[in-house]
Protein backbone atom coordinates (compact mmCIF):
# COMPACT_ATOMS: atom_id res chain seq x y z
CA UNK A 1 0.00 0.00 0.00
CA UNK A 2 1.50 3.34 -1.02
CA UNK A 3 2.18 5.73 1.81
CA UNK A 4 0.22 8.97 1.26
CA UNK A 5 2.32 12.06 1.78
CA UNK A 6 1.65 13.99 5.00
CA UNK A 7 0.61 17.15 3.18
CA UNK A 8 -2.35 15.56 1.42
CA UNK A 9 -3.24 13.79 4.66
CA UNK A 10 -3.47 17.15 6.39
CA UNK A 11 -5.63 18.45 3.55
CA UNK A 12 -7.95 15.50 3.97
CA UNK A 13 -8.19 16.21 7.68
CA UNK A 14 -9.13 19.85 7.06
CA UNK A 15 -11.84 18.78 4.65
CA UNK A 16 -13.00 16.17 7.14
CA UNK A 17 -13.25 18.84 9.85
CA UNK A 18 -15.36 20.91 7.46
CA UNK A 19 -17.65 17.94 6.97
CA UNK A 20 -17.82 17.33 10.71
CA UNK A 21 -18.72 20.96 11.37
CA UNK A 22 -21.37 20.94 8.67
CA UNK A 23 -22.87 17.67 9.94
CA UNK A 24 -23.02 18.93 13.52
CA UNK A 25 -24.63 22.17 12.37
CA UNK A 26 -27.18 20.30 10.28
CA UNK A 27 -28.11 17.99 13.12
CA UNK A 28 -28.22 20.92 15.52
CA UNK A 29 -30.53 22.75 13.16
CA UNK A 30 -32.75 19.68 12.83
CA UNK A 31 -32.74 19.34 16.61
CA UNK A 32 -34.06 22.87 16.98
CA UNK A 33 -36.78 22.41 14.39
CA UNK A 34 -37.82 18.77 14.83
CA UNK A 35 -37.11 17.97 18.46
CA UNK A 36 -37.53 21.32 20.19
CA UNK A 37 -40.12 22.27 17.57
CA UNK A 38 -38.89 25.78 16.91
CA UNK A 39 -40.37 26.89 13.61
CA UNK A 40 -37.56 28.07 11.29
CA UNK A 41 -38.03 31.57 9.88
CA UNK A 42 -37.48 32.50 6.24
CA UNK A 43 -33.87 33.57 6.71
CA UNK A 44 -33.13 30.34 8.58
CA UNK A 45 -34.47 28.43 5.61
CA UNK A 46 -32.17 30.25 3.19
CA UNK A 47 -29.20 29.41 5.39
CA UNK A 48 -30.36 25.80 5.67
CA UNK A 49 -30.52 25.59 1.88
CA UNK A 50 -26.84 26.54 1.79
CA UNK A 51 -25.91 24.27 4.70
CA UNK A 52 -27.68 20.93 4.26
CA UNK A 53 -26.27 19.95 0.84
CA UNK A 54 -22.73 20.46 2.14
CA UNK A 55 -23.06 17.32 4.28
CA UNK A 56 -23.40 15.23 1.13
CA UNK A 57 -21.10 17.20 -1.18
CA UNK A 58 -18.21 17.33 1.31
CA UNK A 59 -18.58 13.62 2.10
CA UNK A 60 -18.39 12.88 -1.61
CA UNK A 61 -15.19 14.96 -1.82
CA UNK A 62 -13.59 12.96 0.99
CA UNK A 63 -13.66 9.55 -0.71
CA UNK A 64 -11.38 9.69 -2.56
CA UNK A 65 -10.03 13.09 -1.64
CA UNK A 66 -10.88 15.52 -4.41
CA UNK A 67 -9.51 19.03 -4.10
CA UNK A 68 -11.97 20.43 -6.62
CA UNK A 69 -14.77 19.95 -4.06
CA UNK A 70 -13.63 23.27 -2.55
CA UNK A 71 -14.58 25.03 -5.75
CA UNK A 72 -18.08 23.58 -5.63
CA UNK A 73 -18.88 24.19 -1.98
CA UNK A 74 -17.37 27.67 -1.73
CA UNK A 75 -20.28 29.50 -3.45
CA UNK A 76 -22.80 27.86 -1.11
CA UNK A 77 -20.67 28.68 1.92
CA UNK A 78 -20.25 32.33 0.86
CA UNK A 79 -23.99 32.79 0.28
CA UNK A 80 -24.76 31.08 3.61
CA UNK A 81 -22.18 33.21 5.38
CA UNK A 82 -23.66 36.45 3.97
CA UNK A 83 -27.17 35.33 4.96
CA UNK A 84 -26.08 34.48 8.48
CA UNK A 85 -24.25 37.81 8.79
CA UNK A 86 -27.36 39.66 7.69
CA UNK A 87 -29.53 37.58 10.02
CA UNK A 88 -27.23 38.17 12.99
CA UNK A 89 -27.20 41.92 12.39
CA UNK A 90 -30.97 41.92 12.03
CA UNK A 91 -31.38 39.93 15.21
CA UNK A 92 -29.03 42.21 17.11
CA UNK A 93 -31.06 45.19 15.94
CA UNK A 94 -28.17 46.75 14.00
CA UNK A 95 -30.21 46.49 10.81
CA UNK A 96 -33.74 47.80 11.48
CA UNK A 97 -36.40 45.12 11.32
CA UNK A 98 -38.73 46.98 8.94
CA UNK A 99 -36.52 46.23 5.97
CA UNK A 100 -36.43 42.50 6.67
CA UNK A 101 -37.95 40.23 4.04
CA UNK A 102 -40.10 38.04 6.29
CA UNK A 103 -43.71 39.08 6.62
CA UNK A 104 -45.66 35.90 7.33
CA UNK A 105 -45.08 33.13 9.77
CA UNK A 106 -42.24 33.25 12.26
CA UNK A 107 -40.41 36.51 12.80
CA UNK A 108 -36.70 36.35 12.02
CA UNK A 109 -35.98 38.15 15.27
CA UNK A 110 -38.02 35.85 17.48
CA UNK A 111 -35.80 34.79 20.36
CA UNK A 112 -35.71 31.05 20.88
CA UNK A 113 -32.51 30.39 22.73
CA UNK A 114 -29.93 32.46 24.49
CA UNK A 115 -26.91 30.31 25.35
CA UNK A 116 -24.51 31.76 27.91
CA UNK A 117 -26.26 35.09 27.63
CA UNK A 118 -25.10 35.97 24.12
CA UNK A 119 -25.37 33.01 21.72
CA UNK A 120 -28.51 33.07 19.59
CA UNK A 121 -29.43 30.70 16.77
CA UNK A 122 -28.47 33.22 14.02
CA UNK A 123 -25.14 33.72 15.77
CA UNK A 124 -24.52 29.98 15.94
CA UNK A 125 -25.12 29.89 12.21
CA UNK A 126 -22.78 32.81 11.65
CA UNK A 127 -20.04 31.18 13.73
CA UNK A 128 -20.43 27.90 11.86
CA UNK A 129 -20.31 29.53 8.42
CA UNK A 130 -17.35 31.73 9.43
CA UNK A 131 -15.35 28.76 10.70
CA UNK A 132 -16.23 26.82 7.60
CA UNK A 133 -15.20 29.65 5.31
CA UNK A 134 -11.89 30.03 7.16
CA UNK A 135 -11.14 26.31 6.91
CA UNK A 136 -11.97 26.26 3.21
CA UNK A 137 -9.78 29.29 2.48
CA UNK A 138 -6.90 27.65 4.36
CA UNK A 139 -7.45 24.48 2.35
CA UNK A 140 -7.62 26.39 -0.93
CA UNK A 141 -4.31 28.13 -0.24
CA UNK A 142 -2.60 24.86 0.68
CA UNK A 143 -3.83 23.21 -2.48
CA UNK A 144 -2.83 26.05 -4.81
CA UNK A 145 0.71 26.10 -3.40
Amino acid sequence: MPQPDPKSNANWTILFLCWLLVSMSTLGSLFFSNVMEFAPCVLCWYQRICLFPLVIILAAGLFPFDKSVVKYVLPLVIVGWLMSLYHTLLYAGIIPENIQPCTQGVSCTEEYIDLFGFLSIPMLSFLAFSTLLTLLIILMRRISK
Binding site: F16, V35, E37, A39
Partner: protein, 217 residues
Protein backbone atom coordinates in the same frame (compact mmCIF):
# COMPACT_ATOMS: atom_id res chain seq x y z
CA UNK B 1 -8.41 4.32 8.23
CA UNK B 2 -10.18 7.34 6.74
CA UNK B 3 -13.29 5.25 6.23
CA UNK B 4 -13.18 4.22 9.87
CA UNK B 5 -12.87 7.82 11.09
CA UNK B 6 -15.74 8.83 8.83
CA UNK B 7 -17.92 5.90 9.83
CA UNK B 8 -17.30 6.36 13.53
CA UNK B 9 -18.08 10.09 13.22
CA UNK B 10 -21.36 9.31 11.49
CA UNK B 11 -22.27 6.85 14.20
CA UNK B 12 -21.33 9.23 17.03
CA UNK B 13 -23.29 12.11 15.46
CA UNK B 14 -26.29 9.86 15.00
CA UNK B 15 -26.19 8.54 18.55
CA UNK B 16 -25.74 12.01 20.05
CA UNK B 17 -28.76 13.18 18.08
CA UNK B 18 -30.95 10.24 19.09
CA UNK B 19 -29.98 10.32 22.76
CA UNK B 20 -30.15 14.09 22.82
CA UNK B 21 -33.68 13.94 21.48
CA UNK B 22 -34.89 11.37 23.96
CA UNK B 23 -33.15 13.22 26.81
CA UNK B 24 -34.78 16.50 25.79
CA UNK B 25 -38.22 14.89 25.55
CA UNK B 26 -37.82 13.29 28.95
CA UNK B 27 -36.83 16.64 30.43
CA UNK B 28 -39.85 18.32 28.85
CA UNK B 29 -42.18 15.61 30.14
CA UNK B 30 -40.81 16.08 33.66
CA UNK B 31 -41.06 19.85 33.39
CA UNK B 32 -44.71 19.69 32.32
CA UNK B 33 -45.49 17.05 34.91
CA UNK B 34 -44.16 19.45 37.55
CA UNK B 35 -46.13 22.32 36.07
CA UNK B 36 -49.28 20.21 36.09
CA UNK B 37 -48.93 19.86 39.83
CA UNK B 38 -47.64 23.29 40.76
CA UNK B 39 -49.38 25.39 38.20
CA UNK B 40 -52.47 23.55 37.07
CA UNK B 41 -54.16 26.73 35.83
CA UNK B 42 -51.79 26.83 32.86
CA UNK B 43 -53.59 23.74 31.61
CA UNK B 44 -57.13 24.63 32.60
CA UNK B 45 -58.56 28.12 33.09
CA UNK B 46 -61.92 29.06 34.54
CA UNK B 47 -63.16 30.02 31.10
CA UNK B 48 -62.09 26.72 29.51
CA UNK B 49 -64.81 24.61 27.95
CA UNK B 50 -64.84 21.07 29.31
CA UNK B 51 -66.63 17.87 28.46
CA UNK B 52 -67.03 14.83 30.67
CA UNK B 53 -67.62 13.99 34.28
CA UNK B 54 -66.30 16.20 37.08
CA UNK B 55 -65.30 12.97 38.83
CA UNK B 56 -62.89 12.09 36.05
CA UNK B 57 -59.29 11.71 37.12
CA UNK B 58 -57.75 11.90 33.67
CA UNK B 59 -57.66 15.37 32.15
CA UNK B 60 -57.18 15.45 28.41
CA UNK B 61 -56.21 18.99 27.49
CA UNK B 62 -56.40 19.85 23.80
CA UNK B 63 -55.03 23.05 22.30
CA UNK B 64 -57.05 23.47 19.12
CA UNK B 65 -57.66 25.76 16.20
CA UNK B 66 -61.11 25.63 14.55
CA UNK B 67 -59.44 26.14 11.16
CA UNK B 68 -56.97 23.28 11.63
CA UNK B 69 -57.70 20.22 9.53
CA UNK B 70 -55.97 17.79 11.84
CA UNK B 71 -58.03 19.09 14.77
CA UNK B 72 -61.17 18.34 12.77
CA UNK B 73 -59.88 14.88 11.91
CA UNK B 74 -59.03 14.16 15.53
CA UNK B 75 -62.35 15.34 16.93
CA UNK B 76 -64.26 12.07 16.35
CA UNK B 77 -61.22 10.09 17.49
CA UNK B 78 -61.09 11.96 20.78
CA UNK B 79 -64.77 11.20 21.25
CA UNK B 80 -64.06 7.52 20.63
CA UNK B 81 -61.37 7.54 23.29
CA UNK B 82 -63.73 9.24 25.74
CA UNK B 83 -66.49 6.74 25.00
CA UNK B 84 -64.08 3.88 25.63
CA UNK B 85 -63.57 5.05 29.22
CA UNK B 86 -66.93 6.47 30.32
CA UNK B 87 -66.71 8.91 33.22
CA UNK B 88 -62.95 8.64 33.51
CA UNK B 89 -61.85 11.36 31.09
CA UNK B 90 -62.47 15.06 31.17
CA UNK B 91 -61.75 16.89 27.93
CA UNK B 92 -60.53 20.47 28.26
CA UNK B 93 -60.51 22.60 25.13
CA UNK B 94 -57.99 25.42 24.83
CA UNK B 95 -57.59 27.77 21.92
CA UNK B 96 -54.49 28.06 19.79
CA UNK B 97 -55.80 29.80 16.65
CA UNK B 98 -52.50 29.79 14.74
CA UNK B 99 -54.12 30.13 11.30
CA UNK B 100 -54.59 33.71 10.14
CA UNK B 101 -58.19 34.72 10.76
CA UNK B 102 -58.95 31.69 12.92
CA UNK B 103 -59.70 33.94 15.92
CA UNK B 104 -63.07 34.76 14.34
CA UNK B 105 -64.10 31.14 14.65
CA UNK B 106 -63.07 31.00 18.28
CA UNK B 107 -65.25 34.09 18.77
CA UNK B 108 -68.16 32.33 17.10
CA UNK B 109 -67.64 29.31 19.35
CA UNK B 110 -67.57 31.44 22.47
CA UNK B 111 -70.70 33.27 21.30
CA UNK B 112 -72.40 29.92 20.75
CA UNK B 113 -71.50 29.00 24.31
CA UNK B 114 -73.86 31.78 25.46
CA UNK B 115 -76.65 30.00 23.62
CA UNK B 116 -75.66 26.72 25.20
CA UNK B 117 -74.74 25.16 21.89
CA UNK B 118 -70.95 24.98 22.20
CA UNK B 119 -70.30 21.36 21.25
CA UNK B 120 -73.00 21.31 18.54
CA UNK B 121 -71.41 24.39 16.98
CA UNK B 122 -67.92 22.93 17.15
CA UNK B 123 -69.19 19.79 15.48
CA UNK B 124 -70.82 21.75 12.64
CA UNK B 125 -67.72 23.91 12.32
CA UNK B 126 -65.42 20.93 11.94
CA UNK B 127 -67.73 19.18 9.51
CA UNK B 128 -68.15 22.23 7.30
CA UNK B 129 -64.50 23.21 7.59
CA UNK B 130 -63.60 22.40 3.95
CA UNK B 131 -66.20 24.98 2.85
CA UNK B 132 -64.99 27.94 4.88
CA UNK B 133 -61.31 27.24 5.53
CA UNK B 134 -59.71 26.88 2.15
CA UNK B 135 -55.99 27.04 2.70
CA UNK B 136 -54.83 29.90 4.90
CA UNK B 137 -57.94 31.90 4.16
CA UNK B 138 -60.69 31.13 6.67
CA UNK B 139 -63.83 33.07 5.77
CA UNK B 140 -66.50 33.43 8.46
CA UNK B 141 -69.17 34.48 5.96
CA UNK B 142 -69.01 31.01 4.46
CA UNK B 143 -69.85 29.46 7.81
CA UNK B 144 -73.07 31.37 8.50
CA UNK B 145 -75.22 29.13 6.32
CA UNK B 146 -74.24 26.06 8.37
CA UNK B 147 -74.74 27.54 11.84
CA UNK B 148 -78.54 27.17 12.01
CA UNK B 149 -77.94 23.41 11.82
CA UNK B 150 -76.54 23.67 15.34
CA UNK B 151 -79.74 25.38 16.44
CA UNK B 152 -78.11 28.78 16.74
CA UNK B 153 -79.51 32.25 16.43
CA UNK B 154 -76.99 33.58 13.93
CA UNK B 155 -77.87 37.25 14.40
CA UNK B 156 -77.22 36.92 18.12
CA UNK B 157 -73.88 35.22 17.37
CA UNK B 158 -72.84 38.16 15.20
CA UNK B 159 -73.51 40.49 18.14
CA UNK B 160 -71.99 38.32 20.86
CA UNK B 161 -68.81 37.41 19.02
CA UNK B 162 -67.48 40.96 19.33
CA UNK B 163 -67.44 40.80 23.12
CA UNK B 164 -63.97 42.01 24.22
CA UNK B 165 -64.00 39.34 26.95
CA UNK B 166 -63.52 36.74 24.21
CA UNK B 167 -60.36 38.48 23.03
CA UNK B 168 -59.02 38.19 26.59
CA UNK B 169 -59.80 34.46 26.60
CA UNK B 170 -57.90 33.97 23.34
CA UNK B 171 -54.94 35.98 24.62
CA UNK B 172 -54.80 33.94 27.82
CA UNK B 173 -54.97 30.66 25.91
CA UNK B 174 -52.30 31.75 23.45
CA UNK B 175 -50.05 32.78 26.34
CA UNK B 176 -50.55 29.38 28.00
CA UNK B 177 -49.86 27.66 24.68
CA UNK B 178 -46.56 29.48 24.51
CA UNK B 179 -45.69 28.56 28.10
CA UNK B 180 -46.44 24.93 27.34
CA UNK B 181 -44.46 25.07 24.09
CA UNK B 182 -47.49 24.26 21.95
CA UNK B 183 -46.52 25.31 18.44
CA UNK B 184 -48.74 23.01 16.45
CA UNK B 185 -52.38 22.04 16.68
CA UNK B 186 -53.86 19.91 17.99
CA UNK B 187 -51.57 19.90 21.02
CA UNK B 188 -52.45 17.31 23.64
CA UNK B 189 -51.61 16.96 27.31
CA UNK B 190 -52.87 14.06 29.38
CA UNK B 191 -52.71 14.97 33.07
CA UNK B 192 -49.94 17.38 32.16
CA UNK B 193 -47.96 14.89 30.10
CA UNK B 194 -47.40 16.11 26.55
CA UNK B 195 -48.00 13.82 23.59
CA UNK B 196 -44.40 13.12 22.59
CA UNK B 197 -44.81 11.89 19.06
CA UNK B 198 -47.94 12.92 17.26
CA UNK B 199 -50.47 10.32 16.20
CA UNK B 200 -53.82 8.80 17.08
CA UNK B 201 -52.31 5.57 18.35
CA UNK B 202 -49.84 7.48 20.50
CA UNK B 203 -52.62 9.58 22.01
CA UNK B 204 -54.64 6.47 22.74
CA UNK B 205 -51.64 4.86 24.45
CA UNK B 206 -50.91 7.95 26.51
CA UNK B 207 -54.53 8.13 27.70
CA UNK B 208 -54.58 4.43 28.44
CA UNK B 209 -51.36 4.67 30.45
CA UNK B 210 -52.82 7.51 32.54
CA UNK B 211 -56.10 5.64 33.05
CA UNK B 212 -54.18 2.61 34.25
CA UNK B 213 -52.01 4.74 36.54
CA UNK B 214 -54.86 6.71 38.13
CA UNK B 215 -57.51 3.99 38.35
CA UNK B 216 -55.33 1.09 39.46
CA UNK B 217 -57.14 0.60 42.76
Amino acid sequence: MKYVIFGVSCLVLFLVFVFGSSYYQKQQAEKFGFMAQENASTFIRDHSQTLGSDEAKVYLVEFMDPACETCAAFSPLVKQIMDAYPGKIKLVLRYAPFHDGAEDFVKILEAAKKQGKYWETLDIMYKSQPHWASHHNPQPQRLWQFLPMAGLNVEQIKKDMNDPAIVKIIEQDMADAQTLNVRKTPGYFVNGKPLQTFGYQQLQQLVQAEITATYQN
